[in-house]
């Protein structure tokens, strides 16, 4: 379409798909209509029969990609450590199950397999010859609340440096690089239940300054807010605890820009996570101008996935409009 190779993660259409409002072909048609070059599919979400889809479904998927002229870029898989009550997966299970997922990805024509940090570097090292045999790129997603300096990622970098192979790497996800909440963060709350003007001002201050949380709370009260605003601020605007559950967004006033730059040496694919892009093509809370600049400086030429997750804040906003704006924003910034 333009300067950027655009992937759309079909996860962005996951909510209506799960409710049965979109068929799989509807989802692909929407991706095509948005002028995506390629797609990412979350295996346990949209692959019937996962983790062992039928050969018929595999043929159907390939036909669909051909029909809609979409490159099947990335196959997203998980390390389901919660599967067995009382224990994690063991090494052999992580190893064998990831090979199974990679074989499915290969059959589907996907080039990148996105896994999770719980795969662990030791397993990834043993998998490397199998990744190379299949001609794939196996990458670990860095997702919030983790950051580039999280210890397990340091271990992964050590592996990447030691092996110096294009077959393994990382997928940076911008949930790990957020400075603050999106401008839609309070959309689910009626206007007459809080002082949104005060809270949105606090939201900007939280993302752009080091003013302590207790002082921001005092500021809310001084400006005419009350305990309802304080509750909302603590629950939605201030960051979740750093050791919170997987997938949570951890807001940092100064996200780790240098960590992102270093990480890009091992990245062939980027998750352009976002929650809201406004009419002016701005994405409050994620510093896209800076990240795009870094990607350009390091010569990144892989796909950037538009990964819409704004439905968590407001599910009345059009997913298609948001994804289109995100792609336009990337083109404008590149």
């Amino acid at each position: 379409m333009g300067k950027v190779k655009h992937s759309i993660t079909l996860y962005g259409f996951g909510e209506p798909y799960m409710r049965g409002e979109y068929t799989f072909e509807d989802v692909l048609q929407k991706a095509k209509r948005l002028n995506a070059d390629g797609i990412e599919i979350v295996a346990p979400q949209m692959v019937p029969g996962h983790p062992n889809p039928s050969e018929d479904w595999i043929a159907y998927f390939k036909d669909c990609c051909q029909k809609f002229e979409l490159d099947p870029v990335c196959y997203s898989v998980y390390i389901d450590s919660g599967k067995h009550k009382g224990r994690f997966l063991n090494f052999d299970e992580r190893f064998a199950e990831t090979i199974n997922e990679m074989e499915v990805a290969k059959k589907l024509g996907c080039k990148i397999v996105r896994s999770q940090d719980a795969l662990l570097p030791t397993t990834m090292e043993k998998l490397l010859p199998y990744v190379e045999e299949l001609g794939l790129h196996l990458a670990i997603e860095l997702h919030g609340p983790w950051s580039p300096s999280t210890p397990v990622f340091q271990e992964y970098y050590e592996l990447f440096e030691r092996k110096n192979s294009d077959a393994i790497g990382v997928v940076p996800d911008f949930s790990a690089f957020c400075s603050g909440a999106p401008e839609t963060v309070l959309n689910a709350f009626p206007d007459d239940c809080c002082h949104k003007d005060i809270l949105m001002k606090i939201n900007k201050l939280y993302a752009s300054t080091e003013i302590p949380e207790e002082d921001l709370v005092k500021m809310i009260l001084a400006e005419g807010g009350d305990e309802v605003d304080v509750l909302l601020c603590k629950k939605r605007i201030f960051s979740i605890p750093r050791d919170s559950h997987m997938g949570a967004i951890y807001y940092r006033t100064q996200p780790d820009y240098e960590g992102f730059r270093n990480m890009m040496r091992h990245a062939k694919y980027v998750h352009g996570k976002f929650f809201y892009v406004n009419e002016d093509l701005e994405c409050q809370g994620i510093d896209y101008p800076k990240y795009v600049q870094i990607m350009k400086e390091v010569g990144f030429n892989g796909y950037i996935a538009s990964e819409y997750e704004g439905n968590h804040f407001d599910n009345t906003i059009s997913d298609e409009v948001q994804i289109a704006r995100h792609m336009q924003m990337l083109e404008k910034l590149w």
Partner: protein
């Protein structure tokens, strides 16, 4: 503007809603009596998937069902997925069955004669471990610290089903 108490009630109800569930567990319009050759041994309804993706049925630790104010004995419940039925207590041991994102999850309740015609109030409480998380280790090693797998998420839903 409403009183603080009224506003807190609104805010807390929105904050309390799970933001990762993409569906409503009790699936509308799915409850019916199972009639075999004119005999009825049970009724069934469907629950929608409990995550933004498919899940392992072994992560479901408990299902409690209350119909018209009366708790259904656990021994009368079975959960069916991909054509196989499990007692609720046994689900955690079945790590071979993946409940796909749009596959039907069926709760069968054994009750002679099923439900009478008309409206019935259903309440369900499901306890579920996370399928995945950041915590890691080898087998049991380090598992004590994996808090996301020790405290199941509690998913509650209620609805009225009508038996025609």
């Amino acid at each position: 503007m409403k009183t603080i108490e009224e506003r807190l009630a609104v805010v807390n109800s929105i904050l309390g809603a799970s933001d990762m569930l993409m569906t409503k567990p009790l699936k509308a319009g799915t409850c019916h009596n199972r009639v075999i050759e004119g005999c009825c041994t049970s009724y069934e309804f469907q629950i929608d998937n409990l995550s933004y993706r498919g899940i392992w049925i072994s992560t479901i630790e408990d299902i409690q069902l209350t119909v018209d104010g009366e708790e259904t004995p656990k021994s009368n419940l079975q959960f069916f997925c991909n054509g196989v039925g499990y007692s609720i207590a046994d689900m955690v041991t079945h790590t071979e069955n993946f409940w796909g994102a749009r596959d039907a999850g069926i709760v069968r309740v054994y009750k002679v004669g099923g439900l009478s015609k008309g409206d019935h109030e259903f309440k369900i409480v499901i306890k579920k471990r996370a399928d995945f998380g950041h915590a890691y280790g080898e087998g049991v090693q380090g598992y004590d610290g994996a808090f996301e797998f020790h405290t199941p998420m509690v998913i509650e839903d209620s609805c009225v089903y009508t038996i025609e």
